[in-house]
């Protein structure tokens, strides 16, 4: 392979990787936020993402709404779903062992997936072109506007979320709840409300991701959340779960690894390589790239 073609391929693969990674990041942001507050691996997050995509789909096809209102609608639907799921399935388990909540989350995830199949059939649906792709060429490299939008949106959300969690009162309350709910109550924090808010935000982020990705890949189906959900979770852990910029970083790294492995080694080893790199990074940084390695004080 001659050099210029190699470097061009590398450039294109980096673009591919970053755009894929920004999708992971977008989903991972909500994931990491919910985890950060209630220490729950919310396995249903990927399915809320699916739910959001369908809500957006119906808004555009049935109500014939334009893109932005549909997006807002999807986020609202997902937020409501998130709140309901938290109320019905997670709140009663507030004092239960963590792993029981995890199994419940898996249950919710299966329920959304197969309930979805029952309701909307397993057939994939296609998003109408509410937001058509435009291609930009830069000396042989191709980028499209959707990729740029997704990357920009995830960057903005990362900044906003980081600000909310670290600087605002509600954010501090979230962190207090995440550490010790009883002590948080003694500060006058309405713990249930804070958790509801957290779920609402996390779920609406998932829905935003669902709609954007639905538009980008142009196809949605009830099982669409499984793999991206898992990948986003891996991305969140890679960056340091619970840490918002970590989700962004983890997502982008995952995307780039996958693109480079597919492009220069073999796409069949793509997922294995992503997991292998995750494990190697964890061995050196046991709390992820940006995670602080706080050992319990003895």
């Amino acid at each position: 392979m001659e050099f210029s073609s190699f470097s061009q391929q590398l450039g294109q693969q980096l673009i591919n990787g970053i755009s894929l990674g920004s999708i992971y990041a977008l989903i991972a942001l909500g994931y990491t936020m919910v985890y950060g507050i209630i220490r729950l691996i919310n396995f249903a997050h990927g399915d809320i993402y699916m739910l959001g995509a369908y809500a957006g789909f119906f808004a555009t096809t049935v109500f014939k709404w334009p893109f932005i209102p549909s997006l807002v609608f999807a986020m609202a639907v997902a937020a409501a779903a998130g709140i309901i799921i938290e109320r019905a399935a997670y709140r009663p388990l507030r004092h239960a062992p963590k792993i029981a909540v995890l199994i419940t989350a898996i249950g919710i995830s299966l329920l959304l997936e197969y309930g979805g199949i029952l309701l909307v059939t397993p057939q994939p649906r296609t998003f109408p072109a509410v937001f058509p792709a435009e291609l930009y060429h830069f000396g042989g490299l191709v980028v499209n506007n959707q990729q740029i939008v997704i990357l920009t949106v995830s960057l903005i959300l990362m900044v906003v979320l980081t600000y909310v969690v670290n600087r605002t009162k509600v954010g501090k309350a979230m962190r207090a709840v995440s550490y010790d709910t009883d002590a948080a109550r003694l500060m006058g924090i309405d713990v249930d409300r804070i958790i509801s808010v957290t779920f609402a935000i996390g779920s609406s982020l998932a829905a935003a991701a669902g709609v954007l990705v639905g538009v980008y890949y142009n196809s949605i189906d009830p099982l669409m959340g499984i793999m991206p959900g898992l990948k986003a979770f891996v991305a969140a852990v890679l960056g340091g779960i619970g840490i918002i910029p970590g989700a962004m970083l983890g997502g982008i790294i995952m995307g780039i690894i996958e693109a480079l492995v597919s492009g220069f080694i073999s796409s069949t080893f793509r997922d294995a390589a992503a997991f292998a790199i995750l494990i190697i990074i964890l061995l050196f940084k046991p709390s992820g790239l940006l995670g602080k390695n706080v050992r319990e004080k003895v």
Binding site: T104, L110, Y114, V234, F275, P286
Partner: protein, 325 residues
């Protein structure tokens, strides 16, 4: 423990053994006389395999407290290696099973050693990743059929095989748990820092539990592939690991009888719902949620079933950890 206590424990061992023999004879007779058709036989075999998987994962997750969700990967190693041995090298079945167990155990050891330094959710995602790496690696080995699966495996697995393999698994893990070595594992679950301070080599026992758990998953895998004619990567995805984890949690972390009950229950529910394909997973998931909401600590918590009676008879304390059954 008095000598009397020791005799009583031995006696319960013997009683359990007799009960197993009786159960075996009864089921085997029903198979011979065609009272149990092949559909139910298949599910009984699945139940036994699932018990092996759940009990061995409970050793890692429930007793040692290491959050592992890569069990399907070790099962895959046992399934494939044993199949290669019987199909391509005509190795006797028993040796193939043992080889599957050893290979899974060795792999568990090799990857457990570095990985178990992680804790909590980080360990969970790492083990999930390991399971997937194993699966994807198999997927890329044409020698074992790659993505198409490894076909033409003879059906050597019978009720006799799975039943006694299951009894063996439960026996080994129960006795392990009820020894000082088992207490060392449990102490890690309870408080790792205190365990170290009590002189427990936590790394050693984590790796030990992981290795033994993996080896039994290997046995389950070998039995599995030699019943279903085929070993296929799709059978060993992370969803399979979740299924096993579900059994462990539903039964109760740290309860062997719980794992056994949950394995029977969930396998049975799955089989019973086979006739309603559209609703099957919806009902299954609702059931799962309802059970977890109703008993978050699992069906039996960390207690053992049936022991109350035995426990009272011998006046022994039966709280907290696994006891003899």
């Amino acid at each position: 423990m008095t000598i009397l206590g020791m005799n009583a424990k031995r006696k319960t061992d013997l009683v359990s053994l007799a009960a197993c023999l009786g159960l075996y004879a009864a089921v085997q007779a029903m198979i011979e006389f065609d009272i149990i058709g092949s559909f139910w036989l298949l599910n009984i075999i699945l139940i036994c395999i699932n018990i092996i998987l759940a009990v061995s994962l409970n050793l890692i997750n429930g007793f040692t407290g290491q959050f592992s969700i890569g069990h399907a990967g070790f099962m895959a190693v046992g399934a494939y290696l044993s199949a290669v041995l019987t199909v391509k090298f005509q190795v006797p079945f028993i040796l193939a099973i043992l080889a599957g167990a050893v290979a899974a155990g060795v792999l568990g050891f090799v990857i457990g050693l570095p990985t178990l330094r992680l804790s909590g959710d980080y360990l969970a995602i790492a083990t999930l990743g390991l399971g997937e790496i194993i699966r994807i690696t198999i997927l890329n080995i044409p020698y074992v059929g790659g993505a198409s699966g490894f076909m033409g495996i003879p059906r050597y697995t019978s009720f006799t095989w799975v039943f006694w393999a299951m009894v063996f698994t439960v026996f080994v893990i129960k006795n392990l748990i009820n020894s000082s070595h088992g207490r060392a594992c449990i102490s890690i679950r309870e408080n790792e820092i205190a365990a170290e301070a009590m002189g427990v080599d936590t790394t050693r026992y984590k790796v030990l539990a992981f290795t033994i758990g993996a080896a039994f998953a290997g046995i389950a895998g070998a039995l599995f592939s030699h019943y279903f004619y085929i070993a296929h990567p799709a059978s060993f995805t992370f969803m399979k690991s979740f299924d096993i984890l579900t059994m462990v949690v539903l039964g109760g972390l740290g309860s062997l009888t719980g794992s056994i009950t949950a394995a029977i229950l969930l396998t049975f529910v799955s089989a019973a719902l086979a006739g309603y394909p559209e609703w099957r997973m919806v009902i299954y998931s609702l059931l799962l949620i309802a059970l977890m909401l109703y008993r978050p600590q699992g069906l039996f918590g960390n207690k053992e079933l049936s022991l109350k009676v035995f426990g009272k008879l011998r006046g022994g304390g039966v709280r907290g950890t696994a006891q003899d059954n």
